[in-house]
Symmetry: C2
Subunit: 310 residues, 2 copies
């Protein structure tokens, strides 16, 4: 069995490939929930939904988030209230709203996020186990020159076009891992850290009580895929964030960040020259094509990762 | 200035006519909120919205609720979760969702229902003041042979196709009138009780602390329109409810129910024979056409009501 630690888009693309090479039910994705937030009273879980929609082949291929064939009637009509304090900078499509309505309804009735996520995964007939990192609320807060911002205000509201000098995860000290998280890590033959933002996507999962420790114990079986290719993130602000926190925006910077709990780093062929540096840090290094332009390429990358370890 | 006490569809139709004969800003509608409920985490105010959409000429003319030209994408996609406990019996259209998202968002931020309702009225440029009866939660509970049901489960979930032996308004004892409610009643030249269900639409408004007393003091200036025509309700279960509670389902039954605080009852020409009975109860009685097939007919009825009192 395989465990994967996941953020949003990059992780979702790898997982869409991984379900093609791992038998149904043998893969558990442990997903960041520190981006979760409440919009208009609805509980929104961006990373869980990006994984769900992508693995279900329901994601919008152009936007990279939300559902394909989406309509925006609710948001269009919300503009009627723009002058009266409506939150109009965070778009939720009409079909996507159904997921948030269902999640919110169930949570209000007392279900845990673990239970709701499992039901959403089942409703989309995902061939993997979908686990939130924690059922406790954790909120990523981003320090910028304009003050501290909640993650979605930074990421969506400000289009992550602002410097980041610090990040903290509110609630992380008391957040306990969701049921199944530690077991999945302990029982996996291989733990894959997906190519997501190391700071704000992988960081919170690692920060949940006990996760870093269980990974460290399994270090030889933990394989991470660098989300930094040629010094830049394919999508999102990971590169700027690494630099903002005084780290190197390169596969080598990722290796340093992960060195304590990752035994193997997968880097892109474009970064082949960095392999020796990664190895000098005490990690094994696999150099391969990591850009997942198609689900088939993602499946090939998955096979490379899993074969490397087997 | 005019005050109107309102439930849903019948009230909304009268108010759509009344704004044609009352100058802008001179009419205050005090609306039942005991049907309000939370669906999928969203605060839904059916009567407030029916009044808003109808007066704004945005109501769906066929269904009689919700917005014209509505789409149902969110609800269609919610069906994906039907096997996992999704609430699928209460339909919220995509455009209508915007109203509930806005209301829920604002309430979460600490606004009162009074403030949000005023903003929604302004966003729809209504020419009247829209007041909820109270900012305190009140919940209509309906006693049926199958036990007590929350109002919307009875009304929408069961299509009000079940006997009612009792009604109670949870929270009514401690509900205080929303700001402006008592003032509107005290300062109005005429208080109109709209043709809504006397038990579950008008009943809760009357039940809010102080409302019945202020109406009783103004009894001579209070004019009600009977929602029962020829022994039946045009829409909804008012007739069956009156009988279920041991009352007569007729304009005369309505007169008895309202006698303490209503000075004049408007009944339909079809019920002309009941006029003497109404008068024998100590009410004035106006006999006229009360079926509001068009906004013009509603305006004529409004003029009749207001001229009768002037």
């Amino acid at each position: 069995v395989i465990a994967a630690i996941a953020g949003g888009v990059g992780a979702a693309r790898l997982l869409r490939g991984m379900v093609r090479v791992v038998p149904t039910g043998q893969l558990t994705a442990i997903v960041n929930t520190a981006d979760d937030t409440v919009f208009h009273g609805l509980h929104v879980s961006p990373d869980l939904d990006t994984v769900t929609y992508t693995v279900a082949e329901a994601i919008d291929p152009v936007r990279g988030w939300g559902l394909a064939g989406e309509t925006w009637r609710a948001m269009e009509h919300l503009n009627r209230f723009a002058a009266f304090g409506a939150t109009t900078w965070f778009n939720l499509g009409d079909a996507d709203l159904a997921t948030h309505l269902f999640r919110t309804d169930r949570l209000r009735q007392g279900a845990t996020l673990t239970e709701v996520s499992a039901d959403i995964a089942a409703a989309f007939t995902l061939p993997l186990h979908l686990l939130p990192m924690s059922n406790d609320p954790v909120a990523t807060m981003v320090m910028t020159p304009e003050g501290e911002l909640p993650f979605q205000e930074y990421f969506v509201g400000r289009h992550h076009d602002i410097d980041v000098s610090g990040v903290r995860f509110e609630g992380i000290e008391t957040a306990t891992p969701a049921p199944g998280v530690i077991d999945a890590i302990e029982q996996a033959e291989t733990v894959v850290i997906c190519p997501s933002n190391p700071i704000v996507s992988i960081g919170p999962v690692i920060g949940v009580t006990g996760v870093r420790e269980s990974l460290t114990k399994r270090r030889d079986d933990v394989i991470a895929v660098s989300p930094i290719i040629g010094g830049a993130a394919l999508k999102g602000p990971a590169d700027r964030m690494l630099r903002g926190l005084g780290l190197e925006s390169s596969a080598l910077g990722v290796a340093r960040w992960y060195a304590d709990f990752v035994g193997t780093l997968v880097i892109d062929t474009i970064d082949a020259a960095l392999a020796d540096g990664v190895r000098a840090l005490g990690l094994r290094c696999i150099v391969t094509d990591t850009i997942m332009t198609t689900p088939e390429r993602a499946a090939e990358l998955s096979a490379t990762i899993l074969n490397a370890h087997a």
